[in-house]
Structures are given as structure tokens and as C-alpha cells.
């Protein structure tokens, strides 16, 4: 379980996150939605250790992770899938996949990669090809696969639907919720595409200008027209 307590981040005079509280339980998807500039990506990057918080903390299964280096946070079981499908084009599909678990003993790493290839057969077919030959949807599978290579207990997904065709988005998000259930992962999903995100999430969190303005069950938030008009602009 991921627990965020009073987390604040400042960029100069700008308060990007203001005392954010959040609980992400295992086995389900928690969706953070909100307009551009709401602080969603900052939240993700801070949790992953790429941005230093001004105050507050985040705990993964009771262990404080804020203030630690990104590589240590990954090793303690929380993986971020950053915005914009962060595969390395110069490396092959297999190399990109293995990147996520290089620090683990090679036997464990091979077992996990076999599992991931089974989950994404298209990656197995293309393992020797450069990763920039993959389509957008396949590349997103590769990034998620690579994040799973560290055998995480918590997965952070930053806008996985960005730039993908609607059908692929649905597939990816369904996969994410299936992963959460089957692997008992705590999944924090950030999405601008609120409707689709709330469909796979159990809990919805609405952010606006660095604040959490509403936490509720996904159905409740999806059904609230007033909320949608006020914060999501759709």
C-alpha cells in the first residue's frame, strides 16, 4: 500500500503540490484525474524520487521512500512508467525489457521476463528488433513490461493513453486493472482521459492546482456532472 501524507512540492515561488494526502491500496487501481497543470505529473515524479518534496512524506508498505534516490525507490518495489513511453530507441526490445530488472539476480530476472513475454506475445516475437520499430501501443506494453521487471508492489502510470488510438487505450487500461488484481499491485494511474480512467479504477481522486479536491469511488465521481464540468472541462 502506498500512503502519501501532506506532500508538498515547490518550484521557486510556485506551489506545484500542496499538502496532498492519498492512499493507494493493493489489488486495485486508483485514478488521479484533473486538467493540465493540476500537479498530476509532479506527484508522480516526486513519488518516483525525480523531484525533491518541500515537505511531507510517502510510505510504501510502511517504509518512508521520500528523500531517497530514484534507483533506490525502484529497488524497494515501486516502479514509474513515465509519460511518453520511455523506451530507449537505440536498444532492442529485449534489452529495454531487461533494463527494469538488471539489479536483480539473473535467474529471477529471466523468470520474470519469461512471464512478461507470455503476457505480451508481441514483445517475444520482436525481442531482437530495435524498440523504435514498435508501434505506439506495443511500445507502451514494453514500458509497462519493463516496469514489471523489478517485481514491484506498486506501479505508477503517468498518462499511459497519451497519443494512443482509443481502442488501444481501452486495451492498455484493462490490462492495467487486470495486473492490479492478479498481481495484487497498488496502481496509481494518472490520466487526462477521465472517462476511460474511471472505468477501470476503483477510486477516483480529482486534483486541481496542486490540491486534492475530491476523493471518492470511481462510479460516484464518473456520475457527478457538476464535478466534471468544474475540474475536467469535458
Amino acid at each position: 500500500m502506498l500512503e502519501v501524507k501532506q506532500l508538498s512540492v515547490s518550484f521557486g515561488a510556485v506551489r506545484a503540490l500542496d499538502a496532498v494526502n492519498l492512499v493507494v491500496p493493493r489489488g486495485e487501481v486508483t485514478a488521479v484525474i484533473g486538467a493540465n497543470g493540476a500537479g498530476k505529473s509532479t506527484l508522480m515524479r516526486t513519488l518516483a524520487g525525480l523531484v525533491k518534496p518541500a515537505s511531507g512524506s510517502a510510505e510504501l508498505d510502511g517504509i518512508v521512500i521520500t528523500g531517497r534516490a530514484p534507483e533506490d525507490i525502484v529497488r524497494s518495489g515501486m516502479a514509474l512508467v513515465p509519460e511518453g513511453r520511455s523506451t530507449i530507441p537505440e536498444l532492442t526490445v529485449e534489452e529495454n525489457l531487461h533494463l527494469g530488472g538488471l539489479w536483480r539476480p539473473s535467474a529471477e530476472r529471466k523468470a520474470t521476463s519469461a512471464e512478461i513475454y507470455e503476457m505480451f506475445p508481441v514483445l517475444a516475437e520482436r525481442r531482437r528488433m530495435r524498440s523504435d520499430t514498435l508501434s505506439g501501443g506495443e511500445r507502451q506494453q514494453l514500458t509497462i513490461g519493463s516496469a514489471l521487471m523489478c517485481d514491484p508492489t506498486c506501479l505508477l502510470l503517468d498518462e499511459p493513453s497519451l497519443g494512443l488510438a482509443p481502442l488501444i487505450v481501452t486495451q492498455i487500461l484493462q490490462l492495467v486493472s487486470q495486473l492490479a488484481r492478479e498481481k495484487n499491485l497498488a496502481v496509481l494511474l494518472v490520466e487526462q482521459n477521465a472517462v476511460t480512467a474511471l472505468r477501470v479504477a476503483t477510486t477516483g481522486v480529482i486534483m486541481n492546482l496542486g490540491h486534492v479536491v475530491r476523493v471518492g469511488s470511481a462510479e460516484e465521481i464518473a456520475a457527478d456532472d457538476e464535478l466534471r464540468d468544474a475540474y475536467l472541462g469535458s
Binding site: 520511455s86 533494463l99 539489479w103
Partner: protein, 292 residues
């Protein structure tokens, strides 16, 4: 015709050493996107250390090993004390810092060992071999140079393509943020890249010292040749550095043989200029590898 072959054979051994220096430049470029102009200075310094060990123990192998260890340590020191602090500045700041390191190392070497050229005894004979009643410009020592160079190139290629460490290094070079998010200790990988380049440069220094003399400035001209080979080869490519390192050696030998020895550096610089105009990415570089 035999003169032509003689020139080529002579070019191969200097080419092998240029290739090693070019490899060292590529290793640093790949890990930190800096052209390390201090590389030959580091190699000069570690070769002096190797020479001291050879004089003290009489063993070439021990001298080589001391050179390797010193190369790794000096590479780490230069990276940690100079490059890491200035890397927060822009790229040109880093490049100027490497020149500063070069000048400092040369000054330090002059203070410790003096400016007079010293000779470095080869472990095997460096006289032309007599085959079929003729003396060829290739010696047992040249063959040793080829073998050591080939072993090093193969070992580096295997390291980069077949091991987790190599993959971690490549990922750290291509995209440090993604590497960190994958759990790779990027700073450690960059430091390791500098240490590895220091080792390769040290080998080049120890190999070339017996064929020339060793003084604080004696490797300076090699910097120009190795830089040219690395740039023409694409800066990112190990194969490119080796191919054009050897190629530069051959060009030098032919120009020196048929023309004036003093013209050789100019011809190499002209080749560099032409490459930069025609193929800025280098022969083995990818022009638009990151269109996204």
C-alpha cells in the same frame, strides 16, 4: 610495390595505438557526452608510472598492470574531482576543464620526471622480422601490439553487448532518467566509463612508449589523430573508432612515406574537416537517431 606494403605494415602498428586512444575517447563520450582532451595526458602520466615500475622491477607485465590500475584510478579521479562538479555547467565548460586537466598533468609530470625524453624498453624485440630473405617493417613487438589491441576490442565489445554491466552503461549513456527509473545507479556507471577509458588509454600509452620516447608532451600529436578517428567513426561507435584509428595510421604512414613527415597531421586534419562537412554524424553515426 614492396615499398607500398612496407608503408602499410608500418601504418598498422601506429594505427592500432591510435585506435586504442580513439576507443578511450569514445568510451568517455558514450558515458558522459564529453570529449576528454585530457585522455592522452592521463595516458602519458600512467605510462610514466608504468615506466617507474618497469625500472624498479624489470618486468614489463608488472609495468603494464601498474599502468592499467593507475589508468583506472586516474580516470576516476579526473571524473570525480573535475568533471562531475563542472558538468552542471554547459558542455563547453566541461571541454575546457578537460584541457585544464591535460595542462595540469603535463606540468605535474615535468615536475616529477623532468622534461627530457625517456626510453621505455619493449618486452620483445622491436626489430624488423626477416621473412623470405627480406627484412619487413614488422616486429614481434608490433605483433604484440596487434594482439593486445584485438583482445581489448573484443573484450569491450562483449562487455557492452553481452553483460548486464554493459547494458547498464549503455542505458545510462542514452537516457540517464530512464536508467535511474529502472534502478540503475547511473553515477556509478558514468564513473565506471571514465575508469574504463583510463584503462584503455593506459594500455595505448604503454604500448606506444617503446616505439617512440616518453616525455610529458610526447602523446600530444596522438590526441589529434585519435580525436579525428573517433569523430570520423561517429564518436558513439567502438567499431568506428577502431576502423578509423587503424585507417588514420595507414594514411599517416602513406603520407609520411611518399611525402613529407610534417604534412601528415595536416592531411589528417583535412580529412576531419571534410567529414564534419559531409557527414557530421560520422561514418558510423546515425544522423537522426532521435527524431522524436
Amino acid at each position: 610495390m614492396t615499398t607500398f606494403i612496407d608503408y602499410l605494415l608500418g601504418g598498422f602498428s601506429s594505427g592500432a595505438v591510435i585506435a586504442l586512444f580513439a576507443l578511450a575517447l569514445v568510451l568517455v563520450w558514450r558515458s558522459t557526452r564529453i570529449v576528454n582532451f585530457a585522455q592522452v595526458g592521463q595516458a602519458m602520466f600512467t605510462t610514466f608510472i608504468a615506466l617507474a615500475v618497469q625500472v624498479a622491477t624489470g618486468s614489463w607485465i608488472l609495468a603494464l598492470l601498474a599502468g592499467l590500475a593507475a589508468g583506472a584510478i586516474l580516470g576516476l579521479i579526473v571524473y570525480a574531482l573535475v568533471l562531475r562538479p563542472v558538468q552542471r555547467l554547459d558542455t563547453s565548460g566541461s571541454i575546457i576543464a578537460t584541457f585544464g586537466v591535460l595542462i595540469s598533468l603535463q606540468a605535474l609530470a615535468s615536475m616529477i620526471w623532468g622534461g627530457d625524453p625517456k626510453s621505455f624498453a619493449p618486452p620483445v624485440a622491436n626489430d624488423g622480422l626477416e621473412i623470405a630473405g627480406r627484412i619487413w617493417p614488422i616486429s614481434w613487438y608490433d605483433i604484440l601490439v596487434y594482439v593486445v589491441t584485438a583482445v581489448l576490442v573484443v573484450a569491450l565489445t562483449l562487455l557492452f553487448t553481452r553483460t548486464s554491466l554493459g547494458l547498464s552503461m549503455r542505458a545510462s549513456a542514452f537516457n540517464p532518467e530512464v536508467a535511474k527509473l529502472s534502478g540503475i545507479r547511473v553515477n556509478r556507471m558514468l564513473a565506471f566509463g571514465w575508469a574504463l577509458a583510463g584503462v584503455v588509454g593506459a594500455v595505448a600509452g604503454v604500448l606506444i612508449a617503446p616505439t617512440a620516447s616518453l616525455s610529458p608532451n610526447s602523446f600530444d600529436i596522438l590526441l589529434i589523430f585519435a580525436f579525428t578517428a573517433a569523430v570520423v567513426g561517429g564518436l558513439d561507435s567502438l567499431i568506428g573508432a577502431v576502423a578509423f584509428g587503424v585507417g588514420t595510421g595507414l594514411v599517416l604512414a602513406l603520407v609520411t612515406g611518399y611525402g613529407e613527415a610534417g604534412d601528415a597531421p595536416i592531411v589528417v586534419l583535412i580529412l576531419l574537416a571534410i567529414t564534419l562537412v559531409v557527414r557530421p554524424g560520422g561514418a558510423f553515426g546515425r544522423g537522426k537517431s532521435r527524431a522524436v
